[in-house]
Amino acid sequence: MKLTGAQIFFESLKAEGVEVIFGLPGGAVIDIYDEMPKHNIRHILVRHEQGATHMADGYARATGKVGVCLVTSGPGATNTVTGIATAYCDSIPIVVFTGQVPTPLIGNDAFQEADIVGITRPCTKHNYLVKDVRDLARIIREAFFLARSGRPGPILVDLPKDVIASKAEFKYPKNISMKGYKPTTEAHMGQIKRAYATIAKSKRPVIYAGGGVILSSAAKELKELGERLKCPVTTTLMGLGGFPAPHELWLGMLGMHGTFRANMAVASADMLISIGARFDDRVTGKLDEFAPSAKIIHIDIDPTSISKNVRVDIPIVGDCKDALKKLLQLVKENPLEDLEKQRQPWLDQIQKWKETYPLAYEQKNDLIKPQYVVEMLYKLCKDKNPIISTEVGQNQMWAAQYYHYSEPRTLLTSGGLGTMGYGMPAAIGAQAGFPERLVIDIAGDGSIQMCIQELTTAVENNLPVKVAILNNQYLGMVRQWQQLFYERQYCATCLKMAPDFVKLAEAYGAVGLRATKPNEVEKVILEAIATPRPVLMDFVVNPEECVYPMVPAGAATTQMILV
């Protein structure tokens, strides 16, 4: 029997196990929406297509499944670009379906036409324009396979209106044959052996792990490796949760706003074991002075990440989990001799660094410190195993420093692209995946206004996310740079003209709460957790608080401002 493109679309999604679509209809996809009620698939109607992509992204990060969006042509499609680029930078598997004008009109500057395949070519892992309905099922199959395999990433599938309306025999392909796509997932044993031989000789090793550990579900192996080697572990922002933060070998995050001990340890290490991280400039600072005396092992599934920024001594291409399993096998078979004694001076040194400059702030009686809010969130919520999302800027860094992540997929944050407005929709997406869990977006007053319209989506769909706004009435991180490097000329960073967030929450049908004094913080958080609806918490915090430590852009990571 022949099915229409719209029917094939839903049958294919079912075959991929898709539970939820984040979308917004329009003329070009109206046939798909017309077909939708016949299928048992949840649709979450967003209020802006950027929100849909961030929700799909948050859903994917939290659940490990592929997130799916459906939007219309032209502006609907272009509105997804920021969300797609966000997912691309952080290697998040999402599939974005965009409507397109009918094929005879493509290229004619038709109404609501945009060359979205051309526009998103540099920010997708791959994308497709479906020109024939007979290709549709195969392309959807490929799209999901590409999104989740190898180094994951966003895939866009552009669906012309006439293709959706025309008919073809439906058979969902079982096998995939793509000549040009064969990611190396199995780590080379010879390289693993070389790596372990080098590790065995090292006196001051550091493991530097990134988002790859979370994407490949290798947190368990990472912990075991750290423990068996008695090797201190730091992670990037993307890697937080990949290693349990309360652990004695935990160094904290490294890089621009990393801990003193993490940056000092990397700078003094004679062996750096990089696992699923890509030596981003926010991590390395000045390249010449990054881990200057270390031999570097780099495990990554993407060969282009290896030796891109930093020369690597032992490259290992492969899936982190596979590589770590193989490495662990070697460690078990040939345990290092005298490990305790060997490692003690190094661990003592790190302890000294930890005591010299721990993360610190002072909470006095007058103004709420944003760090205090994050610490209280941790204290009051940690037992509930919540999912935390963040916006971008100071709120994101405090969420990274003062909230302690013990499990993978509990921190959702736009690490690579740094997309303000990401946090709340991502939280909504995560909540759609885990309706029973506590999901909190740690936000700033600037970021939250960039996708605030999605509060309606949360209310309408009973997705009771909690948003904690660290309201300092500034674009805080830019203001901090202006304070430290631009002689305090706060040009265009003041956000004093702002909505009343409590009233705003109420206007959207959510709950608004406010704390202006330190002793109100706990009460507000407890009330928010107890409320089974979306809540916006407005924490009016010290306006000129800065994120420390801070490595000035382009400086060596040992050159930290520690005030």
Binding site: G118, R121, P122, L146, G180, Y181, D302, P303, S307, K308
Partner: protein, 164 residues
């Protein structure tokens, strides 16, 4: 340093744009690029000349391999190869210079492909040095226009036919 790469890609719309976009998006340079179908009509071959140090070349090769539509990258730094380029040269050829033009074309084993009272258009094939040499000579007689194909390259086959 200049390097030549051969890239086998799926013969589909948009593939060239992905390859070109990779270069422009990362600030790499393309000096010349030729594309045509291979024996398999589903596959096209791109010969690409680019410049870059060791690190950049490594990135270019890896990034090309990462593209889903790229089937194979042949790095001609690692294999012996033959390369050729063709040029069509329109040169002034009036009564008193016509013989000289023809003589030069003959020396370079070129062919005259179009004739008019005052101009000759010649076709020359060779490696870059040879093309440059004839251009230098003809320039003295007055070149009006040159169109070059850019380099095409193919790996040399093994010289010994010993079986393993």
């Amino acid at each position: 340093m200049r390097h030549t790469l051969g890239v086998l890609v799926e013969n589909q719309p948009g593939v060239l744009s992905r390859v070109a976009g990779l270069f422009s998006g990362r600030g790499f340079n393309i000096e010349s690029l030729t594309v045509a179908q291979t024996l398999d009509p589903l596959v096209s071959h791109i010969t690409l000349v680019t410049t870059g140090d060791e690190t950049i070349m490594e990135q270019i090769v890896k990034q090309l391999n990462k593209l889903v539509n790229v089937i194979k990258v042949i790095d001609f730094r690692e294999v012996k190869f033959v390369d050729r380029e063709m040029a069509l040269i329109k040169v002034k050829a009036e009564a008193h210079t016509r013989a000289e033009v023809l003589r030069i074309v003959d020396i370079f084993r070129g062919k005259v492909v179009d004739v008019s009272p005052n101009f000759l258009t010649v076709e020359v094939t060779g490696d870059e040095g040879k093309i440059q040499a004839i251009l230098d000579l003809l320039a003295q007689l007055g070149i009006v226009e040159v169109v070059r194909t850019g380099r095409v390259a193919i790996a040399r086959s093994k010289k010994n036919n010993k079986k393993k």
